[in-house]
């Protein structure tokens, strides 16, 4: 059942050293505030699942929280490379990380299989591609009717999934709108679910019946963090801070600049700063 907690407590109670964790949100609704709280709490040895590691994992990797990253596109969307993640892979700085690389289709379907309680995802994919040669978790099954060889990968079953959403009801039901990405699947695949939201409303009565909602009994903790997706965005609340994504390319290019930025903008502040960061984007 969903408990309304401070972000500090929501993270402290649900994320532990060594966990397999997904911070999901496909460009939209990326739970940056929750990731910053995990960084402040110095959680260690995490296995990070995420289709596009993006700035959110570039920061966690750069701060040394990750031992392993499972991903499908390690870029700064529309800008370029993820320089902290590259530094970890190419130079083991600040530490070596293990990587498990998939395609977007495979990652999305691994979450879908996890949400469906299945041990693996079976799909048509990877034909002729190089990843099966370097990722031993990509196997095959044979269709018993056509004999076609299909790709199979293990379902994602994170210990905990963090997402950001527009609204929670007072009961703790969660509404996600716009580019909904893989959040519903990532949440339903996880043992524990933590959601940051822009606001709490009395109830969801009167909404369209077919919206994307996580019932309160599928959610463990909810923290109200206005602006909590910044520099990602929240459809209906504030826009993507594209300038910040462009700026990140410069900050992340230099180890010292990165460290200084993280100290000033993450370690020395709290979740309350996010509301201010999106003021100009509303």
């Amino acid at each position: 059942m969903a408990a309304f907690l401070s972000l500090h407590d929501a993270v402290a109670r649900n994320l532990h050293d060594g966990d397999v964790v997904a911070f999901e949100g496909f460009t939209h609704l990326i739970p940056h505030a929750a990731a910053h709280e995990a960084i402040r709490q110095g959680i260690k040895e995490l296995t990070l699942l995420r289709m596009t590691p993006d700035i959110v994992y570039d920061q966690m990797i750069g701060m040394g929280l990750a031992r392993k990253v499972v991903f499908s596109y390690a870029g700064n969307p529309g800008v370029g490379l993820l320089r902290r993640m590259r530094d970890a892979i190419e130079n083991s700085y600040p530490r070596a990380i293990e990587t498990v690389e998939h395609s977007h289709s495979a990652m999305a379907q691994a979450y879908e299989a996890g949400a469906s309680g299945l041990p693996c995802a079976v799909f048509r994919g990877y034909k002729g591609a190089g990843l099966p040669k370097v990722n031993p978790t990509i196997k095959t099954v044979i269709c018993p009717f056509t004999g076609e060889e299909l790709a199979a990968i293990p379902a994602h079953r994170p210990d905990v999934t963090f997402i950001h959403a527009q609204k929670a009801s007072e009961k703790g039901d969660v509404l996600i709108e716009g580019i909904i990405g893989v959040q519903k699947e990532a949440a339903l695949a996880a043992r524990r679910v933590v959601v940051t939201v822009e606001e709490v409303v009395p109830s969801f009565k009167g909404l369209h019946p077919n919206l994307t909602i996580l019932p309160h009994w599928t959610v463990d903790a909810i923290a109200v963090v206005p602006g909590g997706a910044h520099p990602s965005y929240t459809y209906g609340y504030y826009e993507r801070d594209n300038a910040a994504y462009l700026e990140w390319d410069r900050i992340s290019a230099d180890r010292e600049a990165f460290a200084a930025w993280m100290t000033e903008n993450v370690l020395r502040v709290g979740p309350e700063v996010f509301a201010g960061r999106v003021e100009a984007l509303r």
């Binding site: 496909f26 529309g78 395609s103 580019i179 984007l281």
Partner: protein, 257 residues
Amino acid sequence: MTDFTPTEMMTIAAARALKNDDVCFVGIGAPSAACNVARLTHAPDITLIYESGTIGTAPDVLPLSIGDGELCETALCTVSVPEMFRYWLMGGRISIGFLGAAQLDRFGNINTTVIGDYAHPKVRLPGGGGAPEIATSCGEIFITLKQATRSMVDKIDFYTSFGHGEGGDHRRRLGITTKGPTLLITDLAIWRPDPESKEFTVTSLHRGVTRQQVQENCGWPVRFAAHVEETPEPTELELATLRDLQARTAAAHEGRA
């Protein structure tokens, strides 16, 4: 006719290759510009799909990411990412997939994963994202690339996505039923695969480009078609549409939103 850059020519030539009834899986950068120029000129009904789940989108500004808010706001509908890859891509609903490349070989195989050895890369590139399945699930694949010996190479370091493999019927031998790369548009020329060998062959040179320039900026011995045409110059409308789009985009992305 006002002058134009090679990149503008590349984008406009790519736009021309798109038909009004195409359903197009759009990547960021040149593909996104080309698809939207097509939509704003000769293909107003083209369906543009971004892998973030936005179906039938019509952005006024080019998105910086494949998940910008405007894609959703202007789309016919927005579906989940698992649905996008299952029902729409794997389901065979996409006629054209657009891909860019860090490294490309003569058979349309693409590397965007690593330069050097995978385990110990010289440069770790972003990786494939949707490309491995886009390359095999879409009806056909268009590739746009600025020519350079560094990017058009004899042998790619990693098969991020499969084109025609070693050429010939390699796709069919792997049980892939789609056409694969049917068009390569660079800043210098238009290339199409040889019907038999499937090696990319120059079929049209952009205005003022020489065969030697094409060869100097390609890492394999270039084959030219028996009859090589000259790519028609951008029209006023095409050029104005592209430049307006890029001006709106620059303004939108530089200021905070």
